[in-house]
């Protein structure tokens, strides 16, 4: 994205109101189960006080513009939910890593990997 230095002063990448951009995209997709689960995990862990919507946004914004352009919306959300839960001490990086390995070993598709 091209910005004049003056225009960018004091603004971060996500503060995009007023920037030039192309046509508004018209594609729409149905949310898949895994995306709805990410949303539910965010709502539940924030309603129980493990982090706030500001914590969610902080990590999303710190992930930067490249993540915005290359990852889907709920991919960015689960990355942020994870960072916040790690910071809250809910589980350790080692616990997460071990569990992710177990999940991957169960099968090659989302459905197979969910059957623990």
């Amino acid at each position: 994205m091209e910005h004049e230095a003056e225009k960018m002063a004091g603004r971060r990448w996500h503060d995009m109101g007023g920037d030039a951009a192309g046509p508004v995209p018209t594609e729409q997709h149905d949310f898949s189960l895994w995306e709805k689960r990410v949303d539910a995990l965010m709502v539940i862990s924030s309603s129980k006080g493990y982090f706030t919507v500001d914590g969610l946004r902080r990590v999303l914004e710190d992930m930067g513009e490249e993540a915005f352009e290359t990852m889907t919306y709920y991919e960015r959300w689960i990355a942020s939910v994870n960072q916040n839960l790690l910071e809250a001490g809910v589980y350790t990086p080692a616990e997460l890593g071990a569990r992710m390995s177990e999940v991957a070993a169960r099968g090659e598709t989302y459905g197979e990997a969910c059957d623990g």
Binding site: G17, S32, E75, I78, R99
Partner: protein
């Protein structure tokens, strides 16, 4: 190709998302792992997660349409809605929680539209999850700079004399547009009126259906 997925549309007419039938992705793997850890650590139950998804699926623009139709037919409710949209919509069973909700009313002089330039904040209690375009760079960037051009991409052309007012949402403060009641709808019931209220008319990127359209 052995499968041509382009032939297959979901019940709502959209293509199925590719990642539903692709190999497990890294981020899906992470979601499963986090969900299982939260359940094992007694932070959430599987039933709770399923119930949250059901609650989310139950929220749709029909909620907002019921609120708008009531505002069109019940002047006291309209005043309550404009004074405190969070309380008025909660009284109809659509609780927004701790966030502030502001209803902005379209008139012959003023057309309102909503955006979240910083992220994707949206009145989920009344409209469900935001459409993909609402979260796009193009809409977030341009809605505040050239709203009439954006509106024209949605097929909405307003008279030059109409003031266009764009409201930028935040995580704590959401907006809902109360579209203007279409002409020729005198005597319609609130239910019949609600059927005219589209999602986009409550975002401000559309207008309600007319009696002839419906």
């Amino acid at each position: 190709m052995p499968h041509d997925h382009h032939d297959h549309l979901s019940p709502s007419g959209h293509p199925y998302r590719a990642d539903d039938d692709h190999p497990l992705t890294y981020w899906q793997q992470m979601e499963i792992a986090i969900r299982e850890l939260l359940i094992e650590k007694n932070i959430a139950t599987a039933a709770e997660i399923a119930a949250q998804i059901d609650a989310m699926d139950a929220r749709s623009p029909a909620n907002g349409a019921a609120v708008v139709a009531r505002a069109w037919t019940d002047p006291a409710f309209r005043n309550d809605l404009l004074a405190d949209a969070g309380a008025a919509s909660a009284a109809m069973g659509y609780d927004i929680g701790p966030m502030k909700l502001i209803a902005v009313e379209n008139t012959p002089e003023v057309h309102n539209m909503i955006v979240c330039t910083l992220c994707s904040c949206y009145p989920r209690n009344l409209l469900g999850l935001p459409p993909d375009w609402y979260k796009s760079r193009a809409y977030r960037s341009r809605a505040v700079k050239e709203p009439r051009k954006v509106l024209s991409e949605f097929g909405v052309t307003l008279p030059d004399a109409t003031t266009v007012r764009v409201h930028d949402s935040t995580a704590d403060m959401r907006y809902i547009v109360i579209p203007a009641r279409p002409a020729g709808t005198d005597g319609l019931t609130a239910d019949a009126l609600a059927a005219l209220v589209t999602r986009d008319s409550m975002i401000g990127t559309g207008l309600p259906k007319t009696v002839q359209d419906s």
